[in-house]
Symmetry: C3
C-alpha cells in the first residue's frame, strides 16, 4: 500500500510561504471512565474515547488578510458514525479576526475558565454550570448563525460574539433571543485576569451570565487560580446561582499534580478533584483524576491523550 | 499542538513524480444574501455560506493511465452537519477520461453555460431553468449510476454522459428513463462556441433539453456572450419554454464588472443582473451582485470567496 | 485553483522523523458485477464500486511508544452519502500493539483466511460463512467496544481480541455475550500456517468458531493452500457446519491466475472460483473472476482496483 504521508513540518517549494494550505490536526484520547451511580442497569465503568480531526483551510491574500475555514470530524464512544460539523469561516489581519458561522463564543473562549480541568478527558465539576452557546463540535442546530470578533495586542485578548439561534426567521419564538457575549483576558508577568459577560445566553431570554477569574504563577512550577461564575437562570426563570472554583497545579519533572474545589450557592456539597498528568513527550500524556460532584457521587478517569 | 501542514506545493522525494497522491482542494465563501419576498415569516437577509472540500486520490500506472477517485464534503448555511457525497471514479489517458459513479454530466460540464453567473455565490437567473442530472455535491439518490466520457484535443472538448436513476432494477418505473447527454465546446482565437443536447433529462421521459452558446473576447479586458436554452418539459409534460441570456464583463485593474439579461418565452418579465468582483489575490475575491428574477423580485449578495 | 498536494513520499524538515503525522491512504475500485438470480425485479448486472479513505494519525512519544488513531470513510455503490466510521485507537511498542474501540478482531486479522479471494472486489465463496465481529468500515453499533492485542516476532504474529457488544449496560441481554478471540500465524520459508478460535462469536452465546489454514509457496510464482472452518451456530442454535476451501494461484509476467474450491458439510454443492489479475503497476490492477456459490448460482466481476 502506498501511504500518503502528511508530516508535521515540510519543505515548501520556493522561498515564500504558501498562500493556500490545508492542515489536519487534532487529538485522540482513550481510557477508563468511572462514574458512581451512572444509572439503573448501566455500567459504572466504561472505556471512554474521543478522536478529533480539525481540517483547516487558509488562503492569504496579497494584502496580508488570511481567510480561513474549519471543519471538524469528531467521534466519541457511544457514537455510531462520524460526521462533520458546521463550518466556521474567518478573516484575520494584524491580530484582528472576524468569524462567521459555527463560531467560538466569547464566554467559551476567554482564558482561565477551564483551568480547573483535569484527567485525560479534561473535565471538571468546577466549570461553569451555566447554559451558553459554544462552537458545536458535532451535529448542530440547522439555522444557527454566529458572528464573532477577537483582537489580540500585547498580553491582552478581547472577544465579542453574537449568535442568532435561527437566522432564517424574521421573529424568534417567545422566550428565545440572540445571544451576545463580550470577554477579555490579560496577562502581565505572573498574573492573568479574565472576565466575560453574556446576555440571553444560549438564546434564553433573561439568562445573563458572567465570569471573572484570576490566576497567579507562583513560580515556573506552581499555579493557583480562582474562577467565579454567575450561572444565570434556566429557561423557566429559576436562578442557577453563583459558583466559585479554586484550583492549583504543581509540576515536578514530567509529572503535574492538579486539584480544585468548587462551591455552589445554596448547595451544601462541595465539588472537588485531584489529578495528575505524566508527560510522555511530543504532546502525549497519561492522565488520571478522582473527582466528586455536587451530589456526592465520585467519578474517576485514567487514560492517554495524544495530539497530532 | 503539532500542526499537520499540507502546503500547496512541496518537494517530492526522488526525481520522478509520485505515482499515487491525495489532494485536498476546495473553497470557502461567506457573506450577506438578500432575497426579496423570501417567504412569510422568513428573514429576507441572511448570512449565506459554503465550505467545500474535494478529496482527490490518483494513481498513475506504468503505462501512463491515471486512475482517480473523488469525494466531496460540503457544508452550507442551514445544514446541521457535513457528510461526504457519493464517489466518482475515473481513468484518464492522453486527453481521454472515462468516469463512473457520481459523474459530471455533459449538460452541466460544457463551456459557457454558467458564464452569466456573478456575486460571491456565483448565481444567475440566466442559467438554464431545465431539469437535468449533475454531479451531486451532497447526499444523492441511492442507486444512481452514471458513466461519462470526455475527450480534449486542440481547443475542443467533447462530452458524453449516461445516467441510470436506479441501476439496481431491471425495469425503471413508468415515466422514468435513463438520461443521455452529449456536448461539445470549441475555442478558436477570440471566439468560443458550445452546444449540448440531453434526452430524457433528469430521467424524465420526453424531457429533451438543449443549449447553444457563443462568446467573444473583444480584447483582454472585455467579453460578451449569448446563451440559448430549450428547457424541455416537466414530468407532467408541460413545456418549460425557451430561454435566452446575454451577458458581458469588463475588467479594469483588480475590478471586474458583470451584467446579464435573460428572457423566457411566454414570460413578460426579463431577469437581469449587475455585479462586480474585486480580486484580493491568490484566488480570493470580494464579490457582490444585484439581480432581478422573472417574477420581479430582487436579490442581492455581497461577500468573499477564497480558494485553496 | 490552488491544489493541495499530498505526495506519497516527501521530505520532512530536520534529520529526525516527524513525531506526529497524518496519512490518508486507501483504494478505489469499480467495474461490472454479475450475480445470477439477484432477485425478482432486480438487474443481475450492475456497476459496483467502492472508495475507501483511511485517515491515520500517529504520535511517537519520547520513549518510542507510538499512539495512533484511525477513521475510515467508505462509499459503496448504492449508498446515498459517505460518513466516517467509529474510531480505533492504538498504542504500539516493539512489535506489540494494543487497540481499543472499533478494533480489528483476531478471527478477521489472522493470515491466510481470505487468501482464496479474487476479482476486483476481492470476494470468495470460500471465505468462512461464520458470523463474527470485525472492524466496522461504516456505520456501526452504538456502544460496541473492543480491545485487541497483537504481537509480532520473527515470522510469527499472535492476536487477541475482546468485544463487548454494549459496554454501557451492566448486564447484556439473554443470548448476547462478549466475543473473545485468539489467533496465530507463522511463516517459515515456503510454509505458512494459521489458526484462530473465537468463543461467542458475533456476541451470540454458544457460537464458537474456529479456523485452521496452511499454505505452501511452491516457488516464486505458485502458491497453494487449504483453509478449514468450523462455522459455529446461528443465534437460534442451528449448526452452520464445517467448511473446507482449497485454493491456488500462479503468476507469469504481469498476470496472476487464481482458483479455489470450497465444500460445506451437509451441502451437496461445491462453490468454486477462477479468476485473473493483470498488474498495471503502482498497485493498480485489472481483475476478473467467475465464481459459483453453494446454491449453484454464478457470479462474475471484471474491473479495476487502484491503491493510494
Amino acid at each position: 500500500m502506498k501511504k500518503v504521508l502528511l508530516a508535521t513540518t515540510m519543505f515548501v517549494a520556493g522561498a515564500s510561504a504558501a498562500a493556500a494550505e490545508v492542515t489536519i490536526s487534532g487529538y485522540g484520547r482513550f481510557g477508563a471512565e468511572y462514574v458512581e451511580n451512572r444509572g439503573a442497569g448501566l455500567s459504572d465503568t466504561i472505556i471512554s474515547s474521543r478522536l478529533r480531526f480539525n481540517i483547516d483551510a487558509t488562503t492569504e491574500t496579497d494584502a496580508g488578510v488570511t481567510f480561513g475555514a474549519r471543519l471538524r470530524f469528531q467521534n466519541d464512544d457511544g457514537d455510531v458514525a462520524t460526521v462533520g460539523n458546521n463550518a466556521r469561516f474567518s478573516a484575520s489581519f494584524s491580530g484582528f479576526t472576524v468569524s462567521v458561522g459555527n463560531v467560538d463564543t466569547a464566554f467559551d473562549s476567554v482564558a482561565l475558565t477551564y483551568n480547573s480541568e483535569m484527567g485525560y478527558q479534561d473535565s471538571s465539576f468546577g466549570d461553569s454550570e451555566a447554559a451558553f452557546f459554544a462552537y458545536n463540535s458535532k451535529v448542530g442546530p440547522a439555522n444557527y448563525m454566529g458572528v464573532s470578533a477577537t483582537y489580540s495586542f500585547g498580553g491582552a485578548n478581547l472577544y465579542f460574539s453574537y449568535v442568532n439561534p435561527d437566522q432564517t426567521v424574521s421573529t424568534l419564538p417567545v422566550g428565545i433571543s440572540e445571544e451576545i457575549g463580550i470577554a477579555a483576558d490579560y496577562t502581565a508577568g505572573q498574573f492573568t485576569v479574565a472576565a466575560a459577560f453574556t446576555s440571553d445566553a444560549a438564546g434564553i431570554v433573561g439568562n445573563d451570565i458572567a465570569f471573572i477569574g484570576a490566576a497567579y504563577a507562583i513560580n515556573d512550577a506552581a499555579n493557583v487560580g480562582l474562577n467565579y461564575y454567575d450561572n444565570g437562570t434556566t429557561a423557566g426563570g429559576v436562578d442557577r446561582g453563583n459558583q466559585a472554583t479554586i484550583y492549583g497545579n504543581y509540576t515536578f519533572g514530567a509529572t503535574t499534580v492538579r486539584a480544585y474545589l468548587s462551591d455552589r450557592e445554596n448547595d451544601p456539597d462541595t465539588a472537588y478533584g485531584i489529578g495528575a498528568d505524566y508527560a510522555l513527550g511530543e504532546g502525549a500524556r497519561l492522565s488520571g483524576s478522582i473527582q466528586g460532584d455536587f451530589n456526592g457521587n465520585t467519578a474517576a478517569d485514567l487514560g492517554v491523550r495524544f495530539n497530532f
